[in-house]
Subunit: 393 residues, 2 copies
């Protein structure tokens, strides 16, 4: 196990009706004037936004509003939010939505007190030194942004999708009411579940040895997702299954299942070029990329892939041929994704094989290599896209 | 799953040599004059205390010292610490030691700003409203106090052992260096491991349904302990195994594996009377009590006991007779405890069956019942002590 720091100071407020406590927690964590940031559509129609506003008002907290966050949130709205916050002397951002809204809120939060262009934090690796506090009311179990210090933003002008991270942008509080996810369409639900599982796999595949506790915690989240996801696809309003998925999604990404070990994250990077180019859902892109990545790299550590096949997917260990077990695990993952309604190849996703050179170019690795479990060159990444293009059950 | 809040704001600083950062973190979390609180013996002899002092001095932080914490920490030293902190205008307590030292530190921290007797928080259920910050340098993986909001103190005069809890006494930072545990005697190591496993079992046995994610997280910690504990008993200086146990011990008790469900904690309560009366190690008492409690209550939910037998202990499910599987799991637990050197009955612990009426009286349940998985009367508790008195492999 490697040395690490783990710091997850977010107060998680979980359960039925908890959005009515939004004002209480905004006040508790020092908000005196709040920017209510959201996407639009469902949060307005469902009455959620009104309930949050009532809670703020009941707690004597004035607010401004900025809606219009899109999936793969854009820098343009972030600039607008920063300007609004400065003009209105906002000192807390309350995100009402999913990962895109929360990431957009985090980007605004780091931009408000920063004299330069907030994009510096995404493009140059510049360290965040200050941010105004963020709170969240989560409406989809997926990105884990409600409990993480990460944010991903897409540049409108050229479609570049880049991430940054700091403990300073971890939400002060996150309200998680699984009821709010009971009306999500099956496709979005499955995209979220895929993202949650990907967050675990990116941490699971490591070259760090002697990490039994985090291996087991990773497996715990994966086993939960394998049990609960088909239940909510079949029965969307199942509160109990929604609850288990929602908390699993948060646990998957606070990093408690990933500390003390090298992590990978190449599948996320490779996927980001798909969702940036085609504006497809991140989870759907991951469903296509992650098993392709596994297929390409599993020989690097056959026994780790056999371990996950046995412990998570319930495969029988083939002691005479561990590679067969490793491959069976990957195959089970792809079948699982198909069964919950996810695309498993380029055609199903709406991507084009002829775009692979462009995707690789935009990945921007040049003559170098990525880090992670297996270090990948541009040629390796092209091959992973090709496997993804042609994948079948 | 039940509604819950989860809040674990402690910064965990994990790995080799991290105690040399004690001064940095004391400063980061606002300490300007620190009380160094410890037991004695090994922390002094090993040079640990000197390294921590050097780190404080290097960061310009003056400190006072108060050693002498005993296992099952006493109110008498807490009163002394409160007086010293007030006199010296201490604004942070740095615990260097295990659960006893940390609990003693928490009790001092809540007592310093309180006008009344700190014992009120333990005896009357009075809510803590303020506390000065606590940091820790942990020297044994066991109590989980480094990541919890709980403290247990024993009254010197009559041996009463009582607990309290508040988010306000969660440590601001906890330094976890597994190297510091590599010199622990096997018996103390095993007592710690037993305590860690007990913290999980107390959460695992619940009447709350639909808690797959926390069930799986509980199982992850237990599986880790079952793998790693025999390794450190056989090879005490094994850093990797010590690391997994240390992080498992923290994860076991921040409550991340126990949120959203009713919990039990009767085994802890029943054990506390043993360690209060005989001054035995808490973990050793739990090794005697917890399997006895399981034996007494398993019929309340045979399938839950079968689940842990199969998923954690690796038993084969006896589909014709699930009760046999449930009992096999309890039997494996007792054998495991015996193999790591723990007592499994009163004689091995140094307790007397003739004291059972006294133990029950001191438990203080009167004509009432406890809460938890199975509500227990004084007669039930007496029967659990009797099972514990006579247990064998």
């Amino acid at each position: 196990m490697n040395n690490f720091n783990f710091y997850s100071p977010t107060e998680f407020v979980f359960g039925k009706g908890r959005e009515s406590d939004a004002g209480f927690y905004a006040k508790k964590y020092g908000g005196t004037k709040v920017l209510l940031h959201y996407g639009g559509g469902s949060a307005v129609r469902s009455g959620l936004l009104d309930r949050v506003k009532q809670s703020l008002t009941a707690n004597g907290i004035p607010f401004c509003e900025l809606g219009g966050v899109k999936p793969n949130p854009r820098d343009t709205l972030v600039y607008e939010g920063i300007e609004l916050c400065r003009k209105e002397q906002i000192d807390m951002i309350l995100a009402v939505g999913g990962g895109s809204t929360i990431d957009s809120s985090k980007a605004i939060a780091m931009g408000v007190p920063y004299a330069g262009d907030f994009w510096d934090f995404f493009s140059t690796g510049k360290q965040i030194e200050r941010a105004i506090p963020v709170g969240t009311v989560l409406t989809i179990a997926a990105a884990g942004s409600e409990g993480s210090g990460d944010a991903v933003i897409t540049k409108e002008a050229d479609g570049l999708k880049r991430g940054t991270g700091s403990d300073l942008i971890r939400p002060r509080f996150s309200i998680l009411n699984p009821e709010l996810t009971c009306t999500l369409p099956a496709y979005q639900t499955a995209c979220g579940a895929t993202d949650i599982m990907a967050h675990v796999f990116e941490r699971y595949f490591t070259n760090t040895t002697e990490v039994e506790i985090t291996d087991r915690l990773c497996e715990a989240v994966l086993q939960t997702m394998i049990k609960e996801t088909p239940r909510v696809i079949a029965d969307p309003a199942n509160y109990d299954a929604r609850s288990n998925i929602m908390w699993a999604g948060t646990v998957a990404h606070t990093n408690i299942v990933g500390v003390g070990r090298e992590q990978d994250w190449n599948s996320h990077g490779i996927e980001h070029e798909l969702s940036a180019l085609y504006d497809c859902a991140h989870g759907a892109g991951l469903a296509v990329i992650m098993p392709a990545w596994m297929t390409y790299v599993y020989k690097h550590d056959v026994m780790r892939f056999a371990q996950v096949a046995v412990r998570v997917w319930g495969c029988s260990m083939n002691f005479a041929d561990p590679e067969a077990t490793a491959l069976e695990g990957i195959s089970r993952f792809r079948k699982f994704l198909h069964e919950i309604g996810m695309p498993i190849n380029f055609e199903e996703l709406g991507a084009k094989e002829s775009d692979i050179p462009l995707l690789v170019e935009r990945f921007g690795i040049g003559d170098g290599k990525t880090g992670g479990f297996v270090h990948l060159s541009a040629a390796d990444i092209a091959e992973i896209y090709r496997i993804a293009a042609h994948a079948s059950l």
